[in-house]
Amino acid sequence: MSKINSIADLKKKRDELQGGLGSRVNDTSNAVHVKVAMATCGIASGAKNVMEFFSEQLERRNIAAVVTQTGCMGYCYAEPTIEVKLPGQDPVVFGFVDLKRADQIIEKYVKTGELVDGIIPVNYQTIDLNV
């Protein structure tokens, strides 16, 4: 990592990252994005296994995908929770994701766009700091 030495540096870095270089935040590529909620509660409910499963299986099944961890999504009652974003679509959050459901999600939702049980409707708004 190189140092960010000025405010201009910081802006440059942000623009690069937002342009999708080296980050998936606003990525427009064709990969499937899977985020696994890996806070203590998620891990305690088995999120690590779920994350490993997605990393391994998506690769094994030849699906271009980025699997990352993230923090708590807030749905403690439905842990482990994951968010899947198919290219060009709104992300969908799934709860109660055990390995069986993880497999379903890959086979049905990721491969065909067919939804599976356990969807958690996102019921909040998040602020945007880009002002």
């Binding site: 999504m73 065909t112 019921n123 998040t126 602020i127």
Partner: protein, 597 residues
């Protein structure tokens, strides 16, 4: 891609579930089958929409239409009208409470705006172990703005004007606190982040640190710039290993980028942050006790003044803020005080994160604007009471808070309203109680916690809380008298009035609020020797109803202490002096002949 052109999402949340969502799914599938649409329309059971009051909910995708209070028999209309004819079923749409016009788009429905994530803006969105993702989400932009465009006075003014109050519990103005720390001259000052989250049922701070550690780091540097400090300390409990790990990674990455350390962003400003671990004592969340603990001393509070802003860590001016307080700072700086203060109520601005726990369907972490009502939190976002039970009370503010009842449900949540109602905001734990919870046992439960967590420095907290706990135990066992209720109140009032720190001054809150709101239940315990909720074992009696008993002897055979007597085919009898109230007999009886009196 998908063979389905349309999805019907049926709310499968626990609350809606009990309102027949299974039947709705069945009927929808039957209808689709009958119309030969099974290949193009998929019916899916989802998690809770958080709108249980109007449940069950059916959402049609991709039309983005939400139907409320759907009954199984409405399946036909939805399929025939909406799916086949493409017309919305107006009678199943939500009526806008103001215009009375039907609304179909959830984005126009209020309940989707119930939660607003400012503090949790990045939680569950970014990878907390990758600083780039934080930066891509405008991270450290606020720091850049502060360091290059604002004077420390301007920053403090912005924070003051935002109206933000400390999220640790006491609700002191953040900006004012910073100003006090700034005014005290010293070569050495400290910014401390209080991450000693200790209330049972609270995990707001942990979630923020695990999900978005940089937001706290960034805010601490901003605070350091404002008050003239170059040292930051995060006091975090050692029981939060993952949060510690993620903080360590975040600090390392921030240092590598030069966002912590010397000459930040080339501005000449220096600031660095180190971690301090707490051993897990509730009292160390109190800022003076926290500071003593960091100094290697016994975690005990001392009398304020002097406030930490005058003499804190190693006797230097110190500003202590809670995790959640810090996490909102970058947003306040970037979006402005005006924006922040437009959210919330008169004297409580912005949003508050709550951890919902207890007898509620959607146990979880939520963030709502100040002013949201308890009803909205419990019955809409929280999905209502588990197993269709009746709501009884909500304990806000953890063991230091109070228990609010049905009559308080429409209070807009803010610092002052909760205090006026006899509770406190606290750090944001909300424990929901239902009809099965005994309010004497519950008060005893919370007292047990304070008794264990008292540091033992002052007599009212050290001994008084123990006595409160003992007396509640007496009452639960049916050994209390009506005079004891007066004593209970007097002891509680005196402990509140005389204890040294916030822990002791608030520890009787559960008792007082529960006595205020459920006095009859207390009287029932001492006068009638009955526990209306059926929780206090000593006050229960298992009795055989002679009308239902057929003398099958099943109960007698299962009784572990041989308390049940009676000949075969004759009415049985339970000897209350032997019975240990395990309930095995009642469970075994097939004739409903055993009941609790």
């Amino acid at each position: 891609m998908s063979k389905y052109s349309t999805h019907l999402l049926v709310c499968g949340g626990t609350s809606c579930h009990s309102s027949e969502s299974d039947a709705i799914v069945c009927n929808l599938r039957d209808e689709l089958e009958a119309k030969g649409l099974m290949d193009s329309v998929q019916v899916i059971l989802t998690g809770c929409f958080g709108f249980c009051e109007k449940g069950p909910i059916v959402k049609v995708m991709p039309d983005n239409t939400v139907y409320v209070q759907v009954k199984p028999e409405d399946a036909q209309a939805i399929v025939e009208e909406h799916i086949i004819k493409g017309r919305k079923v107006t009678r199943l749409l939500l009526k806008d409470p103001v215009s009375k016009e039907p609304v179909s788009d959830p984005n126009k429905m209020d309940f989707f705006k119930k939660q607003l994530r400012i503090v949790l803006r990045n939680c569950g969105f970014i990878n907390p172990e990758n600083i780039d993702e934080y930066i891509a989400r405008e991270g450290y932009k606020a720091l850049g703005k502060v360091l290059t465009e604002m004077t420390s006075e301007q920053v403090i003014k912005e924070v003051k004007d935002s109206g933000q109050r400390g999220r640790g519990g006491a609700g002191f103005s953040t900006g004012l606190k910073w100003e006090l720390a700034r005014k005290n001259q010293s070569d050495e000052k400290y910014v401390v982040c209080n991450a000693d989250e200790g209330d049972p049922g609270a995990f707001m701070d942990r979630s923020v640190l695990e999900g978005d550690p940089h937001s706290v780091l960034e805010a601490m540097v901003i605070c350091g710039y404002s008050i003239g400090a170059s040292n930051g300390l995060i006091y975090i409990r050692a029981e939060y290993p993952l949060a510690i790990e993620r903080l360590k990674i975040a600090i390392k990455q921030a240092r590598e980028y030069g966002l912590l350390g010397k000459n930040i962003l080339g501005t000449g400003f220096n600031f660095d942050i180190t971690l301090r671990y707490g051993a897990g004592a509730f009292v160390c969340g109190e800022e003076t006790a926290l500071i003593h603990s960091m100094e290697g001393l016994r975690g005990e509070p001392t009398v304020k003044p002097p406030f930490p802003a005058e003499s804190g860590y190693r006797n230097h001016p110190t500003n202590v803020n809670n995790v959640e307080t810090f996490a909102a700072i970058p947003a306040i700086i970037l979006k402005g005080a005006k924006w922040f203060s437009s959210i919330g109520t008169g004297k409580s601005k912005g949003t508050k994160v709550f951890a919902l726990a207890g007898k509620i369907n959607n146990v979880g972490l939520i963030e709502v604007p100040m002013g949201t009502t308890l009803r909205e939190v419990i019955f809409e976002i929280g999905g209502g009471i588990r197993n269709g039970k009746k709501f009884k009370g909500i304990q806000t503010g953890g063991p230091s808070g109070g228990c609010l009842s049905e009559k308080h449900l429409d209070i807009p949540i803010d610092f002052d309203n909760l205090i006026a109602a006899g509770s406190i905001m606290g750090s944001g734990a909300m424990i929901i109680l239902d009809e099965d919870d005994c309010m004497v046992s519950m008060a005893k439960f919370f007292l047990q916690f304070t008794v264990e967590e008292s540091c033992g420095k002052c007599a009212p907290c050290r001994i008084g809380n123990k006595r409160l706990h003992e007396l509640l135990g007496q009452i639960c066992e049916g050994k209390g008298s009506i005079e004891d209720l007066d004593r209970l109140r007097n002891m509680s009032v005196v402990i509140k009035d005389t204890a040294l720190c916030g822990l002791g001054q608030t520890s009787p809150n559960p008792v007082l609020s529960m006595m205020d709101n459920y006095y009859d239940e207390y009287v029932a315990h001492v006068k009638d020797k009955k526990c209306p909720a059926g929780q206090c074992k000593s006050l229960m009696e298992y009795v055989v109803n002679p009308e239902n008993c057929v003398g099958c002897t099943a109960c007698a055979r299962v009784c572990p202490v041989n308390a049940i007597s009676g000949e075969r085919k004759e009415v049985h009898h339970i000897d209350p002096s032997i019975c240990i109230k395990c309930g095995a007999c009642m469970e075994k009886c097939k004739f409903d002949a055993i009941f609790i009196r």
